[in-house]
């Protein structure tokens, strides 16, 4: 019996990292984009402006600033859409209050931050990786958050899909951190057929509206989410709320609500923490890198191996929650861990914290708007 196989429709493109992000978002089912132009993220917005009006119910809107962009994105998420916005450092700073709001009301959405040199207007067209700790701690109040990164153009597409899936699965904003190099490099990418990709969507309530508790605890810690207008008339508030969504100051209710926010991420570290290993099995020197610098590191490790040095590379794809087990393993096995990054040591702090003095941690830092070159890393390895 012959099984009729649907022909897979893959597309090959020669695309920018930013364009790949937009492709990934559309693949993941994103149907709403609100944004404000800012270098070096603007191409994401431009692709969305071209594509969303051409798909069923796709909405694109240019807002008056990044605060408004984030507000509209949350509004669309509450109304049931998979929504995204993209920005760069200064805009990301403006979005922080609303990212906190999204954490509090558990609105699934994706924020892409293409990092450029800072502080302030800084180096608008040059790369940096200086918003790493800001992505983790930028908004006020204590809350967990998922921060992902991508180092090449195909990964930009893949990690955007992953970001949407995590957002929907864990009902949380997910931040995708790129840097200018990754965003502005063109490479060949393969856009997979939608049938080949796992796409997750938020859980919606199945109980009748009068039984529905919009913020009830569940085994996963993630409550079902009813889109506005679906018959479940709920109250959404940035105030600390009880299981019904109404503001509360009762310490027992506040504690339960806050601890659930943490638990829904904490208990799935194994699922969320992603990293790639290269030549680490027998490595004596390990490089820990992320973003475009991981590509320099890859070449440096290759060159080191050619010269007989036992070097390896750990590429972090999830930055937060910090992939502790993967890094901890290195600190037990290698005599040196090299952390190259385009900031003065934001991720190496995390590595040092995990290392706990066990092994030598060497940092390579650049804040001059230039990518760290393979030869710089090679020098640190040898």
């Amino acid at each position: 019996m012959a099984v009729q196989r649907k022909k897979r429709k893959r597309r090959e493109l020669f695309a920018l990292g930013n364009e790949a992000v937009a492709e990934g978002a559309l693949l993941a089912g994103c149907s709403f984009y609100a944004g404000y132009p800012i270098t070096p993220s603007t191409e994401i917005m431009e692709v969305m402006a071209n594509r969303l009006p051409l798909i069923e119910d796709g909405v694109f809107i240019q807002m008056e600033d990044e605060i408004a962009s984030m507000g509209a994105t949350i509004g669309a998420s509450l109304a049931g859409r998979k929504a995204m916005t993209a920005t760069s450092g200064p805009g990301f700073a403006l979005m922080q209050e609303h990212i906190g709001y999204a954490c509090m009301v558990e609105a699934p959405l994706v924020v892409v931050n293409v990092m450029r040199g800072g502080p302030s207007t800084g180096l608008p067209t040059s790369p940096a990786q200086a918003d790493v700790q800001m992505a983790r701690w930028g908004t006020h109040g204590d809350h967990p958050i998922i921060v992902l990164s991508a180092s090449d153009v195909q990964e930009c597409l893949e990690m955007t899909v992953t970001a949407f899936n995590f957002a929907e699965k864990y009902r949380t904003p997910v931040i995708l951190l790129l840097d200018e190099v990754t965003a502005h490099t063109r490479e060949k990418i393969t856009v997979p057929d939608p049938d080949e990709v796992e796409i997750l969507s938020r859980v919606t309530p199945t109980v009748p509206p009068e039984w529905f508790k919009p913020y009830a605890d569940t085994a996963r810690g993630v409550p079902a989410m009813a889109p506005i207008g679906s018959g479940y008339r709920t109250h959404v508030t940035g105030l600390t709320h009880d299981v019904m969504g109404y503001p509360t100051q009762r310490p027992d209710e506040v504690k339960d609500a806050m601890l659930r926010l943490f638990r829904k991420i904490d208990q799935y570290y194994g699922d969320i923490q992603m990293s790639d290993e290269y030549m680490l099995d027998d490595a004596e020197v390990a490089v820990v890198a992320y973003g475009s610098v991981a590509r320099s590191a890859h070449l440096a490790v290759e060159q080191a191996r050619e010269r007989g040095a036992k070097a390896g590379l750990l590429t972090l794809k999830t930055l937060f929650p910090f992939p502790r087990p993967a890094v901890e393993k290195l600190t037990h096995r290698c005599h040196t861990v090299v952390v190259p990054e385009m900031n003065m040591g934001q991720m190496s702090r995390e590595v040092k914290r995990v290392n706990n003095g066990r092994t030598k941690v060497r940092t390579i830092n650049r804040v001059d708007g230039q990518i760290i070159t393979p030869s710089e890393i090679l020098k640190a390895i040898l």
Partner: protein, 277 residues
């Protein structure tokens, strides 16, 4: 009149703590009543109404009423409302903001919502003060008035919300007061049914924070002041000019039929997708 309170109770969330949080004599309760009566009179299902509120006294209004309610951040209610309306244009999105909320911190969003003529209704509850935080001066506090942050009188001019929204391009602009409740019902109903961006500024007295500091003995005095210091715009000889006697004109200042942004967007989308097929 018989069913007025009865029907309001039909729309309240009785599992919330009542009486509500507003002070004695606060106009916000009256506006809430007016809003409920308007929605009821229009026959809108509760599921189709979204009440988006900002931060401040007016922001607390959303929690009491059984619509889809969203209590957002300070000044940004209109941005959320814009997202909700564009995501689901079938919904009637009503945005409740205070004067500080809409005009000070959220001024930019207000003028842009007006400019893009998004099909959202903005109810701006102007009590001329920051009430929730204890009576500081807002951008709608009249020049010379006393507040916690202008103890010697405000030096800055107050925004004229109607003029600004008109200038920014809102297609429906009206002003009412908590005292003129029947007129307010009419204004809010027309605003909700208006296709583009509609603004209703409501003078809603704050006896606790504004009145006491500015020589109003009690709430009743403030409503008496509203009664004698307002004039229906349609009774003015020249409705475009402010009255010489300093009275505040109330009524409808602009009402033009213009399709809202969401209508124009989805029209464009239909056209593009037709071409694509």
């Amino acid at each position: 009149m018989a069913d007025v309170t009865q029907l309001i109770h039909d729309y309240l969330r009785h599992n919330k703590k009542f009486p509500h949080v507003f002070c004695a004599g606060c106009g916000h309760g009256i506006v809430l009543g007016s809003l409920i009566r308007s929605v009821h009179a229009l026959g809108l299902p509760k599921d189709d109404v979204v009440l988006v509120a900002g931060i401040g006294c007016s922001g607390r209004m959303a929690v009491y009423v059984d619509f889809n309610t969203v209590h957002t951040t300070h000044g940004r209610a209109l941005t959320f409302a814009t997202g909700i309306k564009m995501a689901n244009p079938r919904l009637k999105v009503i945005c409740v903001m205070g004067d500080g909320d809409a005009m000070s911190i959220g001024g930019n969003h207000l003028i842009h919502a007006a400019r893009r003529n998004i099909g959202v209704t903005a109810l701006i509850l102007n009590n001329q003060i920051y009430g929730m935080t204890g009576g500081q001066c807002s951008s709608a506090t009249p020049q010379g008035d006393i507040s916690m942050t202008t103890p010697f009188g405000s030096l800055e001019k107050a925004f004229d919300i109607v003029d600004m929204c008109k200038a920014a391009g809102a297609s429906y602009v009206a002003r009412g007061t908590s005292f003129h409740a029947i007129q307010l019902d009419r204004l809010i109903s027309s605003a909700i049914m208006h296709p583009g961006f509609s603004v209703v500024e409501v003078f809603s007295p704050c006896p606790t924070q504004y009145g006491r500091k500015n020589k109003f003995r009690n709430a009743v005095d403030m409503y008496k002041w509203l009664k004698s210091n307002t004039v229906k715009v349609e009774t003015l000889k020249d409705p475009t000019q402010k009255p010489d006697d300093g009275r505040i004109p109330i009524g409808v200042f602009r009402d033009v039929e213009e399709p809202g942004l969401e209508e124009r967007y989805f029209e464009l989308q239909r056209k593009l997708m037709g071409q694509n097929r």
